[in-house]
């Protein structure tokens, strides 16, 4: 009797495993395929230039513990020789203000749209949702012309402002959705406690909206860091101000077969987004969810 149950248990366990095997195989296979290209890039970026162009990166696994096949020279080369180091700094200089500025503007606007009464509120919201999908391309020529007239083209200020403008629709929209769901009672309680709109904003709204603000921050930061089009059009070719994406793209154009430079350069351009992604993935996903699902 006992033996029988245990046997049938085993049977069902085995059955379960077999029944689930296709699922496991599929999930593992897809994850593997999805990761492989990035792994290849990462490994290659540490290989020596000659070897890199002679043999496939997977050949390193023939001697997995032979560390002499790796070196850091590619990185040193691309950072100094190809201006990637400078570009990395430029990317930071571009991305941080281009994230902070729209956050401040979007949060204030979102508060007004969610909790202040004024005529035209609904219309403004509809407008912002419409602007959400306007292609950047629509704006490039006029903005560039204006920049040229003002002598702003090629300056950091030009891209900060442009990214702020382009990022605002999503920011306002996402934050208004979040701030609008805060309990009305809280805001009224603060009013009764003697808080002005500004105090309500700084002491109640902002602290309570940090998850949404963080989501938008992560989203906007990655967007700006990864942007090529805006930098290409408004910054032009000057190495002084070019961000990593622009330098990497020029590298592809000029040194398309120098894989030791391309792989290291690509990885440098990816390192910040990857760190942000892994440490703040929660916010990033939440930003995506709020931005899309909620609608």
């Amino acid at each position: 009797m006992v033996a029988q149950t245990s046997k049938s248990n085993q049977g069902s366990l085995l059955e379960k495993l077999i029944a689930k095997a296709p699922v496991h195989i599929a999930v593992v296979a897809i994850s593997f395929i999805w990761t492989l290209p990035t792994i290849g890039l990462l490994i290659s970026s540490f290989r020596k230039a000659e070897e890199l162009t002679q043999t496939g990166w997977w050949t390193v696994f023939e001697h997995p513990f032979n560390f002499t096949q790796f070196h850091l020279a590619n990185y040193a080369d691309v950072l100094t020789g190809q201006g990637m180091g400078q570009a990395f700094l430029n990317s930071l200089v571009i991305s941080i203000p281009a994230t902070v500025m729209p956050i401040a503007m979007a949060t204030f606007a979102a508060y007004a749209l969610a909790w202040m009464r004024f005529p035209g509120r609904q219309l403004l919201l509809a407008l912002i949702i419409g602007l959400l999908v306007v292609p950047l391309q629509m704006t490039l020529i006029p903005v560039l012309r204006t920049y040229n007239q003002l002598g702003l083209a090629g300056s950091f200020l030009a891209v900060w402002l442009a990214h702020t403008g382009y990022g605002l629709p999503l920011g306002v929209y996402l934050l208004r959705n979040y701030i609008g769901t805060l309990p009305k009672d809280l805001i009224e309680a603060a009013t009764m406690d003697g808080a002005s709109h500004l105090k309500i904003f700084t002491r109640i709204i902002v602290p309570l909206s940090t998850p949404a603000i963080a989501s938008f921050a992560v989203f906007q930061f990655l967007w700006v860091w990864n942007d090529l089009l805006v930098a290409l059009v408004y910054l032009g070719g000057s190495k002084e101000v070019a961000p990593v994406t622009l330098v990497l793209r020029n590298l592809v154009g000029d040194r398309g077969q120098d894989w030791h430079l391309l792989t290291a350069g690509a990885f440098i351009s990816m390192i910040v987004p990857l760190v942000v992604f892994f440490s703040l993935q929660r916010y990033f996903v939440r930003g995506l969810l709020a931005g899309s699902v909620k609608g």
Partner: protein, 327 residues
């Protein structure tokens, strides 16, 4: 020397960051101060506009006015000197390169949206059943963090081609050769290159679809699924008759988001092939007109075509928003 200039650069960056954020906050505080001088009624009337003002100014300056101006420019000639009617649009809809771009964009649109959504859905359903779900999702979602330029480099390496006989360093060609085929010029073969580019976008966007769809699937109440099973539905029937209908709105959202993204796609084409060998899309042609041929009329007209293409999505979104506000 290098170090010193880097140091000033870093200091400059910090100053810029402080200027950017501090300046904005000072702006709001200052405006608030001024408004506080007014009487209560006026304050209530003005304050919303103070808060919303900077955002509105930026939206107007960077999106609304330029859009209108681009529409206007699209009716002028290359140097924006003369009104030429619909000539630019005639060009946009008859030029060979444009027609190829239209074809390519359509291909992108259909393949990227369909495959990413379908694959994302399948993965979402599958990972729901394994214990290492977060890891698997993280790996598939990871490309979302990578720039189009970075992804392009990654995939150029995957598609790398060496002549027959030489060792292949590109993963795909190594596999092809391993299977006994000739190496393939993925990016130069006109029958294949567009698909090679589209694959990159699918690689990038499937994770996005998966994450959204997965959270929608998890949002379906368990008892609904159980009720269906009690009613005798098998897993496949549960999937088609319960899960899919219940996540329909998310599928719509994902699809529209991808549609807009794909219509605007530019970086991948620009970096991988530069639009050569029949791989141009609308957005990359627009940049070409702008910078290479310096024809602002044609460039504007092409941009307007892009705008026209996203208008249906815009309408859907605004409608959806209206409905939500009513509820």
């Amino acid at each position: 020397m290098q170090d010193a200039s880097n140091l000033t650069r870093i200091l400059g960056a910090i100053a810029a960051i402080l200027f950017g954020s501090g300046g904005i906050l000072a702006l709001f505080y200052g405006a608030n101060r001024i408004v506080n001088r007014f009487s209560q009624t006026w304050r209530d009337r003005i304050l919303p506009w103070v808060y919303i003002g900077p955002a509105m100014v930026m939206l107007t300056a960077y999106l609304i006015l330029p859009t209108l101006r681009t529409i206007y420019l699209s009716f002028l000639d290359r140097g924006s000197d003369k009104f030429i009617g619909l000539k630019n649009y005639t060009f946009a809809f008859t030029n060979d390169a444009m027609l190829t771009a239209f074809r390519n964009n359509l291909l992108w649109l259909v393949l990227v949206t369909f495959i990413s959504v379908a694959l994302g859905l399948v993965i979402a359903v599958l990972v729901d059943r394994v214990k290492y779900e977060p890891l698997a999702k993280g790996l598939i979602f990871l490309p979302m963090a990578i720039s189009f330029v970075g992804a392009s480099v990654i995939w150029r390496f995957v598609y790398a081609y060496s002549p027959p006989g030489a060792d292949q360093i590109g993963l795909l060609n190594a596999i092809a050769v391993g299977l006994g085929f000739e190496p393939i010029g993925w990016l130069v073969n006109k029958a294949l290159n567009n698909f090679a580019l589209i694959a990159i976008m699918i690689w990038l966007q499937t994770g996005f679809c998966m994450v959204l769809l997965s959270s929608a699937i998890k949002g379906i109440p368990g008892d609904v699924l159980e009720a269906a099973r009690m009613d005798g539905a098998n897993e496949l029937q549960v999937f088609w008759r319960i899960t899919i209908p219940m996540i329909r709105s998310t599928i719509l959202v994902v699809t529209t988001t991808l549609t807009v993204l794909v219509l605007k796609v530019f970086d991948i084409v620009f970096v991988m092939t530069g639009g050569n060998l029949d791989t141009d899309v609308i957005a990359s042609l627009m940049i070409k007109q702008m910078f290479k041929f310096r024809d602002f009329g044609k460039g504007s007209a092409i941009a307007v075509v892009l705008l026209l293409a996203v208008i249906p999505v815009m309408v859907v979104n605004i409608r959806r928003f209206r409905q939500q506000e009513v509820n």
